[in-house]
């Protein structure tokens, strides 16, 4: 069966510090991968998606970046965090264009 992992689960970082959040998927090959951000009490905002290794599409211009160094690994990064980067970050995968996305447990990021 497929599983998706995210770490860390929680993170508190100072403004201006770098960020690296990791997402890995097991049990499937060549998935579409997604990074979302969810502000408190709000819906999900799609940040990046990837249809293959090294292929990244950005939905919202910002100081975040994403990379996909391996088929089942998706990394969200920033060189310098802003206060507005605080939120709940969710990674998800989808098989081809099947439609259903499967979410990881999320990372709660607080930038102080």
């Amino acid at each position: 069966s497929q599983t998706i992992h995210q770490w860390p689960a929680t993170l508190v970082q100072p403004v201006g510090s770098p960020l690296s959040l990791e997402c890995t998927v097991e049990g499937t090959s060549n998935p579409n991968l997604y990074w979302y951000r969810q502000a408190a009490g709000r819906g999900l905002q799609l940040l990046f998606y990837s249809v293959g290794i090294g292929q990244i599409s950005s939905e919202v211009p910002q100081n975040l970046s994403a990379s996909r160094p391996q088929d089942r690994q998706f990394i969200l990064s920033s060189k310098k965090l802003l206060l507005s980067d605080s939120g709940f970050y969710l990674c998800a995968w989808m098989s081809g264009r099947a439609g259903t996305q499967y979410f990881g447990p999320g990372t709660r990021l607080t930038v102080l």
Binding site: N32, Y34, S57, Q101, F103
Partner: protein
């Protein structure tokens, strides 16, 4: 751009009552999905309804889709305290790329024992 909009934003009911949540969207879609999110957790897929379907059931869940009105409803029958969560609809634009989903802001459901 915002595709799905859930209504109401919050709903509080007693255990055993039915809960109905609505979702409206703007463009043509291939399918519409409902997800559930417990506080501080990831989203869990509940049900998917295709654009050529009008109604779908899964256990205590009933989803309807009216493509002429660009709306969907999620009915949870005989609610339980464990149903307390936020519920999101998600659509993929028929002309969109890669099957990406657009989520609404969600309905926060509280079921009181």
């Amino acid at each position: 751009s915002q595709q799905g909009e859930e209504d109401p934003q919050a709903l509080s009911i007693q255990e055993g009552e039915n809960a109905t949540m609505n979702c409206s969207y703007k463009t043509s879609i291939n399918n519409l999905q409902w997800y559930r999110q417990n506080s501080g957790r990831g989203l869990v897929h509940l049900i998917l309804i295709r654009s050529n379907e009008r109604e779908k059931h899964s256990g205590r869940l009933r989803v309807t889709l009216d493509t002429s009105k660009k709306s969907s409803s999620l009915l949870i029958t005989a609610s339980r305290a464990a149903d307390t969560a936020s519920y999101f609809c998600a659509t993929d634009e028929a002309k969109g790329s890669q099957g990406n989903l657009i989520f609404g802001k969600g309905t926060k459901l509280s079921v009181k024992p």
